[in-house]
Point group: C2
Chain length 450, copies 2
């Protein structure tokens, strides 16, 4: 990596672009402006599209860029996001989360990988390819970078239909996922969908003395526990009526390919530090992560949590809940199923509200027989003699399905993350070796898109 690239990378990481936090809107706008200048310097025409105000809230700008190529060549669309997950030192970071720190060939910073690092590395490769191409023989490259991916891409998804013409392309590149173990290239052939909401339970009108009112007042913390527990059966499968209806089972070939690219139980145990026993008992790990939906509690908060004790019956409880969906599930339908389940199971005396429900996005499943995948396989084998494996990623990039539809492009989702990058966790990082892979991949595909 050149000193210039490193300087730019670190500048980009310095923005506290937490797209989900309204207080960080200015940081997001500054980050978008940084991208505008960088892309202009690379020969792109750039616009910062301001999403319309919704419910009184402004959204981070969307970076739209285009560098026209030679008439008749292919049109590439590059998608990435410059927003990041929230990060505070108190969460357990060993260094300030928005100050890049280099240690043993890795850059530690929120966004070092997801997705500032990966999208920037890929675009560095694209830029290098374009600079070295003979006059009159370059592909058209379109770029869309948004600031709300981590919270559901609402603005870009709402604006996408109007961008149909501007985003029209043949292939769409997304560098926001992981390679297989040992940095072996991986092509993502599927992504789970996602939706999320906040569940709020109210009981007494105030925190109550647990002696004076114990046995009298219902307890929202206990109620939340019962309600959350009711979402799963003892075998770990989902207990919500209707939730599993219509799920498309993976084909034999998909299962075979998925297993080729999968890490084993021991690798997961070493990675996460506990038995990898989430999901339905008795099913293989790759199926649970790639082809099964989840309902996950991202947080529960109620009552006292400090030192010592405070013997109260808390007045309320909240839970943050997200769901990962697979092919065949409609986000609207499963959300309705879950809401109905919660309303039917809320204990006596407790009132329930569901807040901040995101529209959600369905799963993405691509055909492994597409010609673009054959090209990708060949280029990735050029980069690494082991060749590529296929993955059906348990994570979600909800906007990809939408961009696929409006652009008409086939998505090619190849990223260079590794489990040790700890995205979404404290001490997120990305190695220079990974950065260089992403950069090389960007350069190679651009050179071959003619």
């Amino acid at each position: 990596m050149t000193e210039e690239t490193k300087k730019e990378y670190f500048e980009l990481l310095g923005f506290e672009s937490v797209g989900a936090d309204p207080a960080k809107l200015k940081d997001c706008a500054d980050c978008a402006m940084w991208w505008k200048r960088w892309l202009q310097a690379a020969g792109f025409e750039v616009e910062l599209a301001m999403p319309p105000i919704k419910d009184g809230k402004a959204a981070p700008p969307i970076v739209l860029a285009e560098r026209k190529g030679t008439e008749g060549t292919s049109r590439m669309l590059v998608y990435g996001h410059y927003d990041v997950q929230p990060a505070k030192v108190e969460d357990g970071w060993h260094t300030p989360p928005f100050e890049p720190v280099v240690k043993n060939g890795r850059v530690y910073c929120r966004g070092a990988n997801d997705d500032k690092g990966q999208s920037f590395a890929f675009l560095c490769g694209v830029k290098a390819a374009l600079e070295n191409m003979p006059e009159g023989n370059a592909p058209t490259v379109k770029v869309v970078l948004e600031g709300q991916e981590e919270s559901g891409s609402a603005a870009l998804m709402a604006m996408a239909p109007e961008l149909r013409k501007r985003l029209a392309a043949d292939a769409m590149f997304v560098c926001d996922t992981s390679a297989a173990a040992g940095l072996q290239p991986a092509i993502v052939a599927g992504l789970r969908g996602v939706s999320h909401f906040t569940l709020r339970l109210k009981g007494p009108n105030r925190d109550l003395h647990s002696g004076e009112y114990g046995g009298i007042a219902p307890n929202p913390a206990q109620a939340m526990a019962e309600l959350v527990a009711s979402l799963h059966t003892p075998d770990g499968s989902i207990a919500v009526e209707g939730f599993l209806d219509g799920i498309e089972k993976p084909t034999e070939e998909e299962l075979r390919l998925a297993n080729e690219g999968a890490a084993d139980e021991k690798a997961y145990e070493a990675d996460i530090g506990c038995k990898p026993c989430g999901g339905e008992k008795g099913k293989p790990i790759v199926e649970r992560n790639s082809f099964e939906p989840t309902i996950e509690v991202n947080g529960i908060h109620s009552g006292y949590g400090g030192d010592g004790s405070k013997t109260i019956i808390p007045a309320e409880a909240i839970a943050k809940i997200s769901m990962r969906l697979v092919a065949g599930q409609s986000p609207a339908k499963v959300f309705a199923d879950v809401k109905r389940h919660l309303e039917a199971h809320v204990p006596d005396g407790i009132s329930l509200t569901v807040e901040g429900a995101a529209e959600g996005a369905g799963a993405l499943k691509l055909s492994v027989s597409s010609p673009l995948f054959r090209l990708a396989e060949s280029l990735l084998r050029e980069m690494d003699p082991r060749g590529a494996v296929y993955q059906w990623d348990g994570a979600s990039i909800p906007v990809i399905s939408v961009l696929k539809d409006v652009s008409g492009a086939t998505p090619l989702i190849v990223g260079w993350g590794q489990a040790e990058d700890k995205i979404h966790s404290p001490d997120e990082s990305y190695s220079f070796a990974q950065f260089e892979k992403a950069e090389e991949w960007g350069r190679l595909v651009t050179e071959n898109m003619i």
Copy 2:
């Protein structure tokens, strides 16, 4: 109330004497020192006993005072506590919690009732009676005020055996409970025991991406929900094996007296703002609160709880749990039962620790036929023509059983709280009318202890 008494009362309320918080030790010591000066001025010999350091932690001092009376008269022991529950403006207080504010004849402040207000009012009455008594005809009055009642009275309970001689008395007065509705006098004939602990669950070694690891990693928030839910059966009774063994059922007379003093469902609903449906379904409210034990979740905390969403599988979860015990239950035995239950029910992949378990205290049950109760009934009818009702309080004052044993005194537990005082909640208050009742009660019993 005289201006002088009001000034003293407000001084006492101003100390942030949160006994459970090590950071407030100095405030507790200042508060004890205030009491020392006040009791000395009332003719008492006073000592501040410093509890021995335990596990490297100092405890708030214990105020021990005595005013010798005429040889051959009765010996009164007055117990109270100067520590209070934690209180922060953010909890929902409308005024700063440690600055007394008067509104419509009520004093709003943490401790206005529990127990600074009640113990101070009672002792003002004792002081007034002593001042007006003919020379050579006063009872001996002993006072013990501690600074750890809200967190289990560990220091006083540990020191109590050494204080056997100093605390020896005929009757022990505790002004730390509530009157019946409409401020009708109430004699507490029973108190539930209490114990508490912190439950900590650990899963993955860090917060994980809920997509990348969903279906792979076990979720400690989900596990906590399942574990907490497992403590009760669907009918609201306690599901822990052995927990209910050996419980002494109330006698017919106790049930009759308890029902006389009980508030009805509607009054509770108006008070707490939701259906009073805690505890076991099908049992009357007074039984659930007076004669049944509880396991109450005082708080659950895990993962994300802020605005928007953060789609993680949290690394850990904690719950604060307290139990109220009834006659026939041993704190050590039920704690062992609960611990065994939790260890048996912890989901796969999750590790469990139980922290900060307090030794706990058993329930107190007094005989309603004691002669001291006859005297109390008569004095209380003098104060209020409706006479007194009996209550078996759902709350706990763990140290009373211990002080009863070492002093040899029969406890007489009469307090003047009301539900609207909101003890342990934001905006705790105590009315001047209640203060005057407590003061009058202190004066009357002192005059009649000859």
